[in-house]
Amino acid sequence: MNQTLTMPLTKEAAAGLTAGDYVTISGVIYTARDAAHKRMIETLEAGGELPIPMEGTVLYYMGPSPARNGRPIGSAGPTTASRMDRYAPKLMELGLAGMIAKGKRNQEVQDAIVKNGAVYFAAVGGAGALLSQRIKKAEVVAYEDLGAEAIRKLLVEDFPVIVVIDSKGNNLYETAVKEYQSQ
């Protein structure tokens, strides 16, 4: 099914998504990848506060290439999600509603998605030039010293993603592959 979503992502909207849905997202999302996740979790462990809101937030696991003059961002496709698996359940407990990336998630993350009513979307890996056109504004809002890995606030318009793991625990990576397997 084709769906359109406006950010932030409510629990109700997340519950209405099914693995295999083609979704376009509009509104504010945030980027974070390896180093930013590590720092956020260390901050929480030290009793500190996160630099961005988590409730209803969709995180995009992405580190862009530098922007040319006059453009909001450079190439901006998803990175591999599994490197963030050890951090994601904690953030979902704090309200993180969705993640955009590519590639498999481990069992702990899949369980946390179901438990917290969250969702895992895939953007097409390697389509960074095309995806950058759907990003209208980008601003570094935390961890500037991390360069490409800094946390960015993005304003996206019709950003194309596919629901891979839904809040019922369906996993498109597993079901779709079986459908086309012939050996």
């Binding site: 083609y22 992405m62 530098p66 960074g128 030039a129 490409a148 086309y180």
Partner: protein
């Protein structure tokens, strides 16, 4: 004896880094186009069309095809009758990478130390493979390699008794486990024989071969086509979301090995299989 100045090397490496990240070679573009026609999954077809459109946008807007503009891998075949003037060849290659990644708005993805992980901020150093060859030319291949597919690559130290069936299992297991993580449709580079490091280097080199260039060795050629067919039956498909186009090509290199060894390296590359070659 022919003299080549490092300035010429710096300029060429710089331009090759930029070219490789904005445009793919003709054979890769053709393979993606062909994939759209044969892909059985409607979603897979749609994704392949997005990838084609992505290539058009990248070239037109001078924006990297993928934000992971890679670790710069350089194969340098240096003629033994060439004299390099103007300083160190390795330094010249790294200077070219530095200029290319800064001037081309490419992402700086290299950290100085694998544990301390401080970014070098100019994507140096490159990983350089040198070979001394006859003649008075320098052939340079720049192949920026992304991490998504690199992280899913494997080395298997098989036993000679495992034979060709063991090699087939190793290739299929690597691709199956990689699934969506390696950004399919992929190109699969395989090195068989040599030793631990030689097979890995061959697998990387295999990725820089023309997609439709077959191995001159009959059994290897058969293995390449059989593996391509079997990989495309795994069901992984474009972006790993199901389908029949999981790999665009399987390129295999071989080398003599020890009586006790059968090393196999499988180096996966995503659909952004970048490589530019120039002969100076």
């Amino acid at each position: 004896m022919r003299v080549v100045h490092t300035k010429e090397i710096i300029r060429n490496i710089r331009d090759m880094c930029i070219e490789a990240n904005y445009t793919l070679s003709e054979d890769m573009v053709e393979a993606l186009k062909a994939g759209v026609l044969v892909e059985a999954s409607p979603l897979g077809k749609q994704i392949l069309k997005q990838l084609k459109e992505n290539l058009v946008i990248a070239e037109r807007d001078e924006i990297p095809i993928c934000q992971d503009t890679g670790l710069a891998v350089v194969f340098a075949e240096v003629g033994q009758d060439v004299m390099i003037e103007g300083g160190s060849l390795t330094e010249a290659i790294n200077e070219g990478v530095r200029q290319g990644y800064v001037d081309g708005f490419l992402r700086k993805s290299v950290v100085e130390d694998p544990i301390e992980r401080k970014n070098t901020k100019d994507n140096t150093p490159a990983v350089i493979h040198y070979e001394i060859v006859p003649g008075e030319e320098i052939a340079l291949t720049v192949a920026p390699k992304g991490a998504g597919s690199e992280n899913m690559s494997r080395i298997f130290m098989l036993k000679p008794a495992d034979g060709i069936e063991g090699v087939k299992s190793a290739i299929l297991e690597t691709v199956r486990e990689a699934g969506p993580n390696a950004c399919p449709p992929m190109v699969v580079g395989v090195g068989i024989g040599g030793n631990f490091e030689k097979c890995a280097e061959m697998a990387k080199f295999a990725l820089t071969r023309e997609l439709y260039e077959e191995s001159p060795i009959p059994y290897v050629r058969d293995l390449e086509s059989e593996m391509l067919e079997k990989i495309n039956q795994l069901g992984i498909g474009p972006a790993g979301l199901g389908g029949t186009v999981t790999a665009l090509a399987v390129n295999i290199e071989t080398y003599p090995t020890h009586i006790a060894c059968l090393p196999v390296a499988v180096n996966l590359c995503c659909h952004v299989n970048r490589h530019v070659r120039r002969v100076l």
